[in-house]
Amino acid sequence: MMKTASKPNSSTYDAIVIGGGHNGLVCAAYLAKAGKKVLAVEKRPVLGGAAVSEETVPGFTFSTFSYVVSLFRPQIIRQLDLVKHGLQIIPMETTYNPIPGDAGLVRWADGGRTRNEIARFSKKDASLYSEFGLSMGRLSRFTKNVIDTPAPEPASLNPKELFKLLKMGKLFKDFDADMRYLNVKLMTMSAVDFLEEWFESEPLLPSMAGSGIIGTFLGIRSPGTAYVLLHHYMGEIDGAFRAWGFSKGGTGQISLACARAAVSFGAEIITDAAVERVKIRNGRAVGVVLENGGEINARTVISGLDPNRTFLKLVGEDELPASFVGQIKRYKNRGSSGKVNLALSRVPNFEDGRPGLQHLKGDITIAPSIDYVERAYDEAKYGEFSRRPFLNIVIPSLSDPSVAPPGKHVLSAFVQYAPYNIREGAGKWPEKREAFGDAVIDTIEEYAPDIRDCIIDKQVLSPWDIEKMTGLTEGNIFQGELSLEQLAFLRPVAEWSRYRSPINGLWMCASGTHPGGGVMGAPGELAAKTMLKEGGV
């Protein structure tokens, strides 16, 4: 835990960061490290935004929203010295796809073991699996470069920008033709179509494709979902090439490490302090007004909130050019997922005949067939939550006993699809929440029949709840959909992809900017570095 005040020590700062999510904290830390006088302001009593851990049930620490770490940038860990500030990542070694009445499919860290598992379903798939991984690994090097630099501006006539584009082009050119072709396909195809060029068997196909839809309002057959597959080959933990991991003590510990780093560089952080609006004078952001009436001044205001909230609520349409307001309004925030967190008396029995619990230590994906996942999407398109959803489940207490009382466990289920705009209207979610939670538990029960006997307590979060708690518009976990037309130089909107906004002195630093959502820290880092370079603070 970290002690924070709810009132600032001073009335004027170089920079105020609105929102104590991980990106806001990363940004604050970089600015403080550069010698700026920085204040970060969080409305909730806990820091972390959507990367937060809370003892929702006594003795049980839930990673309330975000539950795994994959793409957190290694250079941030080094530059902010996050390990010293308590960051510890426990690698996840397995991916398990249960099938009722069967041993299911487990993919292990050990390639040979994985091939044997896949061979039970298809020998051909087993033989191609590592080759696929190699190709994707090579492609991810290109993508890594994209997420670690601000988005190039293709419409710019500035020679510097054109040079950047050329550099990007050169990186692309440095691939051989096969890789370039693969890249064209990857960027545009659906996860299923892309994977079907390699593999033929279930549950391998839906298991892999499932990672392409997490957090999006798209199905595994929707074009544009393939490129997310890369993320699984891009994860870096401690600079080593490993895909996914848990943060020890819960996801919130990442945010807290960032917060401690920020404080160590001299930043100040207050909690329980909601910002009501950005103070604007003569078209320039000059500070913030808190909901409790307090006012704090700053030369620069940086929003870690999503674009919709930042501009339509905290700034206000009147202060902005009409065309920009139009762009922000059509920016898509459709929340599509929910979360069910369970406090368990023991580990549920998946009745798969597998010895031990080793295979349950990573993530457990409920995606038995392509049609299963696609049908879950079909229901959601018309405003229903999926009665049999796609689930990504983790039991972090198996690897990190500190999050549950001895012998007990926490289970976290990421649920898709749960559309924010249900047919009855988003405001009716509280009435549907129970049924939604039941659908999730019913689904788990088909794989682990004793799940209900294990449950001590539960927390069910619909996208409406996510919005209420975190402020994320429509409960979108990525601060806006990660669809092609909302990425790179178009994120959040055209001409404003470089963390600036039409209001002088007001900047953006979170997932609503390039390179987007997930617990990466990259937007916070890139925003801070851009501001420092361009004299924005």
């Binding site: 419409a155 033709a177 370039r180 072709y181 064209v184 545009t188 179509d193 669809s483 178009l490």
Partner: protein, 525 residues
């Protein structure tokens, strides 16, 4: 028999390519069975006395520059000024005509703001159309293995796009990968209008309004569209055939057995036609996987061609209909909207009061819901329909006073769970006729004969792989690199063999563009 060029296939692209090459003085032969001249616009008798007009009819995207360069007007081609499409929505209909003003007035009847938006949208397409048409009307750059000329052409395209201004350039980049659903939602409120604009574009691939990338299809349609050809596909083919013949193209009514690149083609009857240059107007899968000795293909290339996605999702229901006398009103006109000039009597067969063309889709979700079941290999209960009534304009397709209706049925699975049994065929046909009868009452009891072509049947009859009407799904990756890197610029790994079907850039449909662009490339080489 020896020629400079042998063109195999007899459709719009084949005839276009042949006409260009012959006009440039090459000795050209077109190899195609007589009854397959016209390709997707060739007729067949599907019920005694009733003829199908082929499967594609929309000529609005046939390139104007081809009409000019081949002087197709001199061969009888006339651009229509009066063609109309009636879009049936839920309790409403909108008549789309060649004039934007008239169409806007029609839209205003269902929504004033949408009429304004429609005009604005047309103006927007007009504004950005230039660089996009230029892109679509030239040999595509090879982005996978670019040479200097490709990089130069990419640079040129980028520059042309940038000349639109920063805002519009970024807008073009934003809209292309979008879903048609989101894009139309940004402009319009009326469900029927949105559905009518979306249906033809989203059904070009394995996609529906919610699928990302479908907006590129819509964009391409909108910027390349012009007036239709009077008489539609059948008339277009007649003009092209006439242009080809008058330039000296010889027609050889054989069936191609195999291609021997660089040497010629062997016909099924054993004849060999010698030619250094062969232009294949069949889809890439058919050309490389069926017509060329498999041993000549590298494994990688063979894999890539077989992975080219050609999942047909459209069936065609052909209806022979008893006299459909005047005075029968559509459901929408009965329900009280304005009556005048709703459905124009055609100049063809009879004054039946039927529209030449109609789209039936109530809203975008309706299209999406028609798509959902086919993903699971099931029959769609309420299909969306693209209706063409050729007997309104052609008097030789049905007995005097009778009607032929061709319905493209979206969506239909290629493989049906349980197979395409006679019962399954009846079920789908029944669903189609029910939907049709709701909008054009009285059709149901007047149907005297019908033929259902499932995607599998379409594959058989028209030689389209997978029954895919566009010779390969229109999806972003398959438009950028079509059909595979080794042959994305009409050239193939085989010296002297060129592709010129809709399976090449810029894609399928009655555009003539692949045929013309490939022919120009051959003339250069």
């Amino acid at each position: 028999m020896s020629f400079d060029v042998v063109v195999i296939g007899g459709g719009v692209n084949a005839l276009t390519a042949a006409a260009y090459l012959a006009k440039a003085g090459r000795g050209v032969a077109v190899v195609c069975p007589d009854d397959e001249i016209g390709g997707l616009c060739s007729r067949h008798e599907f019920y005694p006395g009733y003829y199908s007009p082929g499967i594609l009819s929309d000529t609005s995207m046939f390139r104007k520059w081809i009409v000019d360069e081949l002087d197709l007007r001199g061969h009888g081609l006339v651009k229509s000024t009066s063609s109309k499409t009636v879009a049936f929505g839920k309790d409403q209909q909108i008549v789309f005509s060649e004039s934007t003003d008239k169409t806007t007035d029609e839209i205003a009847r269902v929504s004033e703001p949408d009429a304004e938006s429609y005009r604005a949208m047309k103006a927007f397409y007009q504004k950005i159309g230039g660089p996009i048409s230029q892109f679509l009307n030239s040999v595509p750059a090879d982005i996978v293995d670019p040479e200097t000329t490709d990089l130069w052409s990419l640079f040129k395209r980028g520059f042309q796009l940038r000349r639109l201004g920063k805002k519009d350039m970024l807008e073009v980049l934003r809209l292309a990968p979008m879903t048609v659903y989101d894009w139309l939602d940004e402009w319009f409120e009326n469900n029927g209008l949105k559905a009518a604009l979306a249906l033809p574009a989203v059904t070009e691939g394995y996609s529906a309004p919610w699928s990302p990338g479908t907006n590129a299809n819509l964009l391409i349609r909108e910027v390349t569209r012009g007036p239709r050809v009077q008489g539609d596909g059948l008339a277009l083919v007649e003009a092209l055939e006439s242009a080809a013949r008058s330039n000296g193209v010889q027609f050889e009514p054989g069936i191609v057995d195999s291609i021997e690149p660089g040497r010629g083609v062997r016909l099924e009857d054993g004849d060999f036609m010698e030619a250094k240059t062969i232009m294949a107007a069949y889809g890439p899968k058919k050309v490389f996987l069926e017509m060329i000795d498999a041993r000549l293909l590298s494994h990688k290339f063979e894999q890539r061609i077989s992975k080219f996605r050609t999942r047909g999702l459209t069936s065609q229901l052909l209806l022979a209909v008893e006299s459909y006398g005047p005075g029968v009103e559509s459901s929408a006109s009965r329900s009280g909207s304005r009556q005048s000039d709703k459905i124009s009597p055609g100049p063809g067969n009879l004054n039946s009061g039927l529209p030449e063309m109609a789209l039936i889709a109530e809203d975008l979700d309706g299209i999406e819901k028609a798509f959902d079941p086919v993903k699971y290999k099931e029959v769609t209960r309420r299909p969306c329909l693209d209706v063409y009534i050729p007997s309104e304009i052609h008097d030789d397709l049905a007995p005097i006073g009778k009607t032929v209706i061709s319905v493209l049925v979206h969506y239909t699975p290629y493989a049906l769970r349980g197979g395409w049994t006679p019962e399954a065929r009846e079920e789908l046909s029944g669903n189609v006729i029910d939907v049709l009868d709701e909008k054009i009452p009285g059709i149901k009891e007047r149907v005297i004969g019908k033929e259902l072509l499932t995607p599998g049947d379409i594959e058989q009859r028209y030689g389209l792989s997978g029954g895919q009407l566009y010779e390969g799904e229109h999806a972003l990756d398959q438009l950028l690199v079509r059909p595979a890197p080794e042959c994305s610029q009409y050239k193939t790994p085989f010296e002297g063999l060129f592709l010129c079907s809709g399976g090449s850039f810029p894609g399928g449909g009655l555009t003539g563009a692949p045929g013309a662009l490939a022919a120009k490339l051959v003339m250069q080489e």
